[in-house]
Subunit: 658 residues, 2 copies
Amino acid sequence: GVNPDLASERQTASFSVEKLTALLDGGTEQTRIRRAVVEAIESDPVFSRENQYFQTQNERYEAAVKKAVHLQKKMHEMGWTENGPEYKYIYRALSGDVAFLLHRVFMRSISVLGSDKQIAKWIPLATQHKLIGSYAQTELGHGTYLQGLETTAVFDTATQEFILNTPKISAMKWWPGDMGRSATHTVVFAQLYIHGKCYGIHPFIVQIRSLQDHSLCPGITAGDIGPKMNFEHIDNGYLLLKNVRIPRENMLSKFCEVRPDGTYVRQGSQKINYFTMTTVRISLISDEVLTPLMKACTIAIRYSVVRRQSKLKPGEQEAKILDYQTQQEKLLPQLATAYAFHFINDYLQELFNRGYREIQRKNFDMLPELHALSSGFKAVITQHCTAGVEICLRACGGHGYSLLSGLPSLYTKILASCIYEGENTILLLQTARFLIKCFMAASAGQPVPPSVTYLAAVKHGKCPAKNKLDFLRADIYTEAYQHVAVRLTSSTAAKLQDLIQSGVKKHDAWNQCTVQLVQAAKAHCHYIAVKNFAETVEKLETKAGIQRIMKHLCDLFALHGIFSNTGAFLHDGYTSAAQMDMVTASYLDLLAVIRKDAVPLVDAFDFTDKSLNSALGSSDGQVYQRLYEWAQKSPTNQMSPAYERYLKPLLHNTLSKL
Amino acid sequence: GVNPDLASERQTASFSVEKLTALLDGGTEQTRIRRAVVEAIESDPVFSRENQYFQTQNERYEAAVKKAVHLQKKMHEMGWTENGPEYKYIYRALSGDVAFLLHRVFMRSISVLGSDKQIAKWIPLATQHKLIGSYAQTELGHGTYLQGLETTAVFDTATQEFILNTPKISAMKWWPGDMGRSATHTVVFAQLYIHGKCYGIHPFIVQIRSLQDHSLCPGITAGDIGPKMNFEHIDNGYLLLKNVRIPRENMLSKFCEVRPDGTYVRQGSQKINYFTMTTVRISLISDEVLTPLMKACTIAIRYSVVRRQSKLKPGEQEAKILDYQTQQEKLLPQLATAYAFHFINDYLQELFNRGYREIQRKNFDMLPELHALSSGFKAVITQHCTAGVEICLRACGGHGYSLLSGLPSLYTKILASCIYEGENTILLLQTARFLIKCFMAASAGQPVPPSVTYLAAVKHGKCPAKNKLDFLRADIYTEAYQHVAVRLTSSTAAKLQDLIQSGVKKHDAWNQCTVQLVQAAKAHCHYIAVKNFAETVEKLETKAGIQRIMKHLCDLFALHGIFSNTGAFLHDGYTSAAQMDMVTASYLDLLAVIRKDAVPLVDAFDFTDKSLNSALGSSDGQVYQRLYEWAQKSPTNQMSPAYERYLKPLLHNTLSKL
């Protein structure tokens, strides 16, 4: 049965959980399809994650390969296709615990960077899994700065081949997924040399393992880079190339070609390619970043209404820990953040779909803005969600620290999202570069992209709020966020100009402003997230209580951001100290309001117990029973040789009975 | 050889590294002893941690038991004793990777809570390891609130025994170290019942495993609680008791005794016992909290001068990442924090030694202050150091995410310190309760303990700084911190009183103020840490450049705290916006100054390569070579059954040559 402490939380929901689930899914039909996929995956024992927390890295890898192979069969069985409506739910249903994810990147890079002939040759082979592809860009000594890659590809006109080498240890390819043990092929990024001249980074298809017996091909050294904080199921690999020869046809040549005589020909526009890179940052948000935060909130909030500890009132029963204000202040803002970013993700997806249509019509005007938004939001969302998962983990005390809570692996996995696909600080500086440029343009009266037109309208007013209820008005807090974003951008632009005018060289001046530039980029994204949440709430139907509770969450998201960063709002007096006290009061009031709906709000995420894989977060709230049963299955409860080897000799001369 | 990028950093040190090491150790003699212990431990292959990142939880446990047993031999061999000067360095030299830590807690609890007769019986047995002890307090459903423990001990006058039971699943003992697989005995905390009346929590010595064959004793169910985020080497356990009978003599009876007829006798003062609990919180700071942060700083800073990525100036070589302002702003404040907390730890140790002497003289006056300080600083130091290690990890990008960097295990281990020995939020609220009490007393003109006399002197002045250099004056920033601590305490006290006067019940009012009370407690500790750092710097000898660089770190620690929390200082106008801009300017200037000494400052921590156990942080800076060599030894580079089982059938019908 359901733990009565959890059941009671559901009886008082102020809104329809099922309707909110449908809203999050984008419609009831989507909910139905998603649930069907989850049901099909979870009822298949091959996809079980039951033993995950007990497995070694080797066992995790083997299970992930098994699942990847089985998934092909499953899709065929179920009639799911890569273009079907079910496809996007499969990965989520597997909780990402599957191999060959880089195989898809391998295919995409060929589709985007390859000639029609190359696509015709490789894509069918890859689709039918007649090879396993990977994507080898990052090197041991080179990550974010692509121009610094050291791997070389020298064109040999005599044999019509490229000769590939990783000339130094720092040039070794390092990190590519699926490459350590599985891949037979990979796309290698290397500096192209023709007749001694360097033409920069280009992509080459290289076979690394035999299709007969999987042995490494001549000139190839490859292996697994060893243990990581998570991703045990992925064989991130290293790759050394020593005079590896590949045919001329293996350079991906949609944009650049090397003719048989060594002539280098550039063709077409690469802009669409840059666009592909930015879309990857957006595409990972939902599955890799939002889902873990939503799961962590579900686990921590359910646990917090089941766990009772200490007394709120003398003489009463011990209190549910979610009734403590400090616990609410840890968890409920994370819940609001999950919703806020869900809606900003919808906004970004839509924007990028529009951008894609424009680009197909050869209109590249939106590119700089899309790049800035994808960079900034990738950084801000991964940062906040990672911090949020950590808060959820800590808020569960000792039990949160057990792997069986599910929280440690959510944390160690989401943490990587702050680093991969663009390190966050570097991404924020790219957004900042765009902001400064647009601010200068706007100040000079030139037109700027829609998301930054607000920079032109620098206002020196004051926040008009008169009492704490005014801070529950979206126009009041949205304007405050806008004001801070403008102030941080304009003041940093001014500092930059001052430095340059005082004789500091441009790149030094930039470096001396980067700490503040990062702040400006964050403020910009935070403002857009708040504004978008508020606009989303406005458009919701008022019935079934959904709009009301979403409004509360929007307010909480906005006020939490102010409460956690009061200095930015107080700095120039836009917000007064008295107003800040109103913010605090409204913020703390909201915690108590949202606390009542906390469990229904996480129930709406609609995770199954199997997908949470958590002793603390299950839908029935039977936390202690589950922890105990699960712990008994741990391999650490098998017989250990430590007794015979070490303890027995130590204890053997003790009295048998004390 | 040493990587020239690292070597060059050492050539320009502005101070004597060796002298700073001696300062940190407390004298050159201490340094000598410490190094001798490290040398003896690290040259012994049994204590090697080389394979640690490749081992399973079972392998880690077995190695830790082996080390614990071997350590006895080693100590005998080396002539080290528990009271000798070497003893405190052993645990650090082992990086805590050893079993039977709870055996010491078992012994301490008997020494403190046991009668002379009990001490005479059990301590010699324990000292000679004729039994292995544990300490069973926490239950599955009960952690911080001791009164809520559910385990019962019923006195049976007929047999002169206590009958112990864990009547519900939530009463099961859960988490005790060394209990899952190793311990033969444990101290169980249980509710004492005599003739049906409950006398509250008392400690009982219970044998749980046979000394003959290590099998579980009758009525005992015990095992390992399974995988955790770290501490794989420790067998944290569970324990169920079913009608377990122990003799009357096994209740630890220094303070309370049950006579044969069931008469309950309380004797002596338990105050010294409370004091023991608070000292544990202080004693863990050095090894469990400061050392990991110092190691993380060493790894991240050395890596940041060896890693080159992107260009600061066009046409030049790629820059060392530590030359980027954003990287400095991540790492250098953590370095300053490590030093700040090293000095506050010295301060607390001294204070507690003084307190101990007073208490032995039956003067308990210092107890409330010591309790407040130990609670608050345990929380603040673990919180900051945990965050600092995480920042170091992230600042190393992808390579920081590899277990071989050493950073993930530092992080996953230090994180636990925020939870154990008192959950941080609860501890901060205890400090806050003391602050509020003292503030009220001080306002009423009553005397208060020395650390809080400042609360009486509420000043409504303004920060007198006139330019950015003024913010390098310790009196200026210390006073700003003091002002904030007073403001947060007094405003929360006022809110509390207002609520109570408006009719809110006292416990509800308290709960509604807890978010702000936590802020006040943090501000109090932060103020004391800044003040202590500044006072320490004042007292340093000016020669050898030590005082100068420590002054810079003190300034950085103070200004980082203001820069990261500007709102607290701006709120009531004590600091103006213009002054905050000066803080920012001075803060950013300091980064560039300290950056020059960053490597010498971590070298002074004097960690050996073996103790860092990191591919990124070794003293020779040969990062890439080490990562590659180490990765090749990973078990993930052994033959996997995945190829034969899954990949071969998938690939078998592919063309052998594409």
